[in-house]
C-alpha cells in the first residue's frame, strides 16, 4: 500500500484525538469518582443507579421518620414515668392519711398536697412535645383535658401511625383512654374528697381505686416498651439496609481508584509515545536529504 505524508498526519491526528477522548474519560472518572457520567456510558448502571439512589433516600427518610417515632415514644414514656411517680406519691399520702395517728388538720394538709399532685397529673396528661399534645390521639393540636381533669370536646383516642419502612406503619402514641380513662381523674377526685374526711374506711377503699390507675399506667408503659423494642429492631434493620444500599450503589457506579488511576497513567504513557513517535515521523521528508 502506498502511504503518503497526508495519510500519516491524518492518522496521527485521528489517533491523538482518540487518545484525548480516552484521557478525558479516565480523567472524568478519577475526578468524579464515578464509572459513568451519562446513561450511554452504561445504560444498565445508569438505570440501576437511579433506583439505588432512591433506595438510599428511602432508607434515610425512614430513619428520619424513626427519629420522629422516638420523639413520640421517649416523651410519652417519660411522661408516664412521671405519672407513675405522682400516683405512687399520691398512694403514699393516702396510706399516711389512713393512719389513725393523723389529725384532721394534718389530713387537710395531705389533701392540699394531693390536690397539687392531681394538678401535676393533669399537666402530664396535657404533655406537649414539639407543639403537639401527645396524649390526645391524632388531635395533637388540642388539649385533651381541662384544668380540672375533665375531658375536653377535642378528646381523641385515635392511633397515631407513622410509616417506618416501606408499607410498615407503627402506632407511636399511647392511647389516652388506656391511661387517662374516664375514671382516672374521677378516682383521684374521689380520693381527694375522702382525704378531707376522717373516714379511714373510705380512704382505704380509695387506695384500692388508685391502684387501678397505677396498674393501667404501668400496663400502658409496658405496651409502649414493647413497641420501643420493635422500633429498635426496625432501626437496626434500617441501618443494615442503609449500609447495603449504599454499598450496592457504590459497587454499581463508583470507580475502583487503583484501576482508574492505572488506566489513566497507562493512557498517558500511550499518549506521550504517540506524540513522540508522531513528531519523529511527520517531520522529515526526502527534501531534508536531497542536496
Amino acid at each position: 500500500m502506498r502511504v503518503t505524508q497526508g495519510m500519516l498526519s491524518n492518522n496521527l491526528l485521528h489517533n491523538l484525538s482518540k487518545s484525548y477522548a480516552n484521557l478525558d474519560q479516565y480523567l472524568n472518572q478519577v475526578s468524579t469518582g464515578k464509572k459513568i457520567n451519562r446513561p450511554s456510558d452504561d445504560p444498565v448502571i445508569a438505570m440501576k443507579g437511579i433506583s439505588y439512589r432512591r433506595q438510599v433516600t428511602e432508607v434515610e427518610q425512614f430513619q428520619r421518620n424513626i427519629n420522629e417515632v422516638h420523639n413520640w415514644m421517649d416523651n410519652s414514656d417519660a411522661a408516664l414515668d412521671k405519672a407513675t411517680k405522682a400516683l405512687q406519691k399520691l398512694r403514699e399520702l393516702a396510706v399516711q392519711a389512713s393512719n389513725d395517728t393523723y389529725t384532721g388538720e394534718e389530713r387537710e394538709n395531705i389533701q392540699k398536697e394531693a390536690q397539687q399532685l392531681k394538678d401535676h397529673l393533669v399537666d402530664i396528661a396535657n404533655t406537649k412535645v414539639n407543639d403537639k399534645y401527645v396524649f390526645n390521639g391524632t388531635a395533637t393540636d388540642h388539649r385533651p383535658f381541662d384544668d380540672e381533669g375533665n375531658r375536653t370536646s377535642a378528646f381523641n383516642t385515635d392511633d397515631v401511625m407513622i410509616e417506618v419502612a416501606k408499607g410498615t406503619e407503627l402506632k407511636v402514641n399511647v392511647t389516652p383512654d388506656d391511661v387517662f380513662s374516664e375514671a382516672f381523674f374521677d378516682r383521684i377526685d374521689e380520693m381527694i374528697d375522702v382525704l378531707g374526711s376522717d373516714d379511714q374506711e373510705a380512704i382505704e377503699a380509695s387506695i384500692d381505686q388508685l391502684d387501678a390507675n397505677i396498674n393501667s399506667t404501668i400496663n400502658a408503659r409496658a405496651d409502649l416498651g414493647a413497641r420501643m423494642n420493635r422500633i429498635e429492631l426496625i432501626e437496626n434493620r434500617l441501618s443494615t439496609q442503609e449500609i447495603v444500599a449504599k454499598e450496592t450503589m457504590s459497587n454499581n457506579e463508583d470507580i475502583d481508584y487503583a484501576k482508574a488511576i492505572t488506566n489513566l497513567i497507562t493512557q498517558e504513557s500511550l499518549h506521550r509515545a504517540a506524540l513522540a513517535a508522531g513528531a519523529r515521523i511527520v517531520q522529515p521528508t526526502l527534501v531534508d536529504f536531497l542536496r
Binding site: N10, R38, S40, N65, T140, L286
Partner: protein
C-alpha cells in the same frame, strides 16, 4: 531518416520532461488542497519510423522517434469514491443522531444529584416529613415548595427540549439549503465540463472540485452517482457528466428523486413541517421537486429522526418521544396525585394540588395550584388518621398507574432514562463504527490519490535528469551537424 530528426526528437523530449516537471510542481503546490487528486503526465512513444507503407524506405528495423504526451491523468479510483460516499452517508446519519442524543443526555443529567429524579425524591421526602408532622406549617411550606420545584424541573426539562428542537429545525433547514446549493454548484461544473470535454481535454481540476462537492453532499443525503458521456467527441477516459439521484438504503436510485441530471436540470429539496399531528411540530416528509420521498441515511435524516417525524402516520423521533413520555408521566402522576389528595372532597374545601396549564403540553405547564403556593398552611395532611393523607400522597410515586403502562412513576422515569441510555449507546457505537469504516475507505482512497512529497521529489529528480539528458542529446546532435556542415570534405586542407 532526416538530418534534423534528432533535433526534433530532443526538442520533444525537452517539452515532455518539462511538462512532467510542471505537473510535479502542480502536485507539490496542491499537496494540502482539500479533494485534490495527484496528476501524472502519461508519456508514450511517438510512432516509429518508417511506418508500414508502399513507399517506405528500405532500411533495417524501425527507429523510435521520441516521446509524446498522451494525457495528463488523475489517479483516482471511482469504486473507492462510491464506497466512501456510502459510508459517509451512514457516518453522517449516526453522527447527527449521536450528537442529538448527547445533548439529550446532558439535558436529562441522570444519574446525578440534580436531575428530575432528585426533585421527585425531595418531594417524596417532604411528604414523608409532613406525614410525621401533619400539623406543622413549616412542613407544609416545604411540601408546597418541593412540589413547585418538581413542577419547575418538569417545566425546565420540557422547555429545554423544545428549544433544542428549535435548533434542530434550524439545522434541518440549513442542511436542506446546503444540499440545494451543492446541487446548483455541481450542475454548474457539469455545464463547464460539457463545454470542455468535446474539445478533447480532460479537466482534472474541475473533476476534483466536483468530487469534493459530491463527497460533501453524500454526508447530508444518501445519493447514487452515475457518469454520462458529455459528447460524442469527448475522450474515452474523460469522466463526463454526473447525474445525482437520492438512493434507498440498498444504494439503489429512487425513481423520480433526481437532483442533477445530464441535461442540466436540477431539482431542489424541501423539508415539510406540520403541527397537525399531536402537540408538537413534526417533519411530514422531504420533497424533491413536487414529490415526497423517504430518506435513507445522511445527516439530514439523522436530524429529522431527532426532531420528530411521521412514520406510517405515527409521530416518532428522539425529542418528540421524550417530550411525549414526559407529558404522559406528568399527566398520569399529577392526576393520580390529585385524585388521592382530593379524595371524595373535590371542590368543597380543597383545590387540586397540581394543575396543568395547557393539556397539550403538560410537562411544560404543570404547576402547584396558586392557592397552595400562596397559603401552604391550607394543605391537608390528615384525612382519617395522623398524617395519613400525606403518607398516601408519598405512596403515589410507587403506585402502578394504568396511564403509565402499569408501572410506577419512578419506574417509568427509570426506564425512560434506560431507553435513552441504550439509544445513545447504540448511536455512539454506530457513530464510531461508521467513522472507522469511512476512515478506512478514505485511507485507501488517499493511498491512491493523495500527494506523496517524497514521491514527487523522486519524480522531480527523475524528470530533471531526463531533461538534462535530452538537452545533452540535443548538443550531441548539434555537434554532429556542425561536423557535417563545417568540417566535412576538407580532406588535406
Amino acid at each position: 531518416m532526416s538530418t534534423f530528426h534528432g533535433l526534433e526528437m530532443a526538442k520533444q523530449a525537452l517539452f515532455a520532461q518539462q511538462s512532467a516537471l510542471y505537473t510535479t510542481g502542480h502536485n507539490i503546490s496542491n499537496a494540502n488542497t482539500e479533494g485534490y487528486t495527484r496528476q501524472r503526465v502519461n508519456f508514450e512513444t511517438m510512432p516509429a519510423y518508417p511506418s508500414a507503407s508502399r513507399n517506405r524506405p528500405e532500411m533495417p528495423g524501425q527507429f523510435g522517434t521520441g516521446v509524446d504526451i498522451a494525457a495528463v491523468d488523475r489517479l483516482r479510483d471511482k469504486f473507492l469514491d462510491m464506497q466512501y460516499r456510502t459510508e459517509n452517508s451512514k457516518a453522517g446519519f449516526w453522527e447527527a443522531k449521536a450528537a442529538a442524543l448527547d445533548r439529550l443526555e446532558r439535558l436529562m443529567n441522570e444519574p446525578s444529584e440534580s436531575g428530575l429524579s432528585q426533585s421527585m425524591k425531595q418531594f417524596w421526602q417532604s411528604l414523608q416529613d409532613l406525614s410525621t408532622n401533619p400539623d406543622n406549617s413549616g412542613a407544609k411550606s416545604v411540601v408546597a415548595q418541593r412540589g413547585q420545584a418538581l413542577a419547575d424541573a418538569f417545566n425546565y426539562t420540557a422547555d429545554s427540549l423544545e428549544s433544542i428542537r428549535d435548533d434542530l429545525k434550524a439545522e434541518i433547514n440549513h442542511h436542506a439549503d446546503k444540499v440545494n446549493s451543492l446541487v446548483r454548484s455541481i450542475n454548474r461544473i457539469n455545464e463547464q465540463i460539457k463545454q470542455i470535454e468535446p474539445h478533447g481535454y480532460i479537466p482534472n481540476d474541475l473533476y476534483d472540485d466536483r468530487d469534493r462537492m459530491i463527497d460533501e453532499l453524500s454526508e447530508i443525503v444518501n445519493i447514487r452517482v452515475d457518469h454520462v458521456k458529455s459528447g460524442d467527441s469527448s475522450p474515452d477516459h474523460a469522466d463526463g457528466l454526473v447525474t445525482i439521484t437520492l438512493a434507498d438504503e440498498h444504494g439503489k436510485p429512487i425513481d423520480g428523486a433526481t437532483l442533477v441530471d445530464a441535461e442540466g436540470h436540477i431539482q431542489e429539496i424541501d423539508v415539510d413541517f406540520s403541527t397537525a399531528h399531536g402537540a408538537y411540530e413534526v417533519v411530514t416528509g422531504v420533497r424533491v421537486g413536487e414529490d415526497t420521498f423517504e430518506m435513507s441515511q445522511g445527516s439530514l435524516k439523522g436530524n429529522i429522526e431527532a426532531y420528530g417525524y411521521l412514520q406510517d402516520g405515527q409521530v416518532t423521533g428522539i425529542y418528540t418521544n421524550m417530550l411525549n413520555d414526559l407529558d404522559q408521566m406528568t399527566t398520569a402522576f399529577t392526576e393520580a396525585f390529585n385524585r388521592v389528595y382530593l379524595g371524595e372532597d373535590e371542590g368543597a374545601n380543597r383545590v387540586p394540588f397540581f394543575e396543568i396549564g395547557d393539556a397539550n403540553r403538560p410537562a411544560a405547564t404543570v404547576r402547584v395550584h396558586a392557592t397552595i403556593i400562596d397559603a401552604p398552611e391550607t394543605i391537608i395532611a390528615s384525612q382519617d388518621g395522623y398524617g395519613d393523607l400525606a403518607s398516601r400522597l408519598a405512596d403515589v410515586f410507587d403506585e402502578e398507574l394504568a396511564d403509565l403502562d402499569d408501572t410506577s412513576t419512578h419506574k417509568f422515569f427509570e426506564s425512560l432514562i434506560g431507553r435513552l441510555g441504550v439509544d445513545a449507546q447504540e448511536a455512539n457505537t454506530m457513530k464510531n463504527n461508521t467513522d472507522v469504516l469511512r476512515s478506512q475507505v478514505d485511507e485507501q482512497r488517499m493511498s491512491v490519490s493523495s500527494v506523496s512529497l517524497d514521491e514527487e521529489m523522486t519524480n522531480m529528480i527523475k524528470f530533471q535528469h531526463a531533461y538534462s539528458a535530452a538537452a545533452r542529446s540535443m548538443t550531441a546532435i548539434d555537434e554532429m551537424i556542425d561536423r557535417l556542415i563545417n568540417n566535412m570534405g576538407l580532406v588535406g586542407r
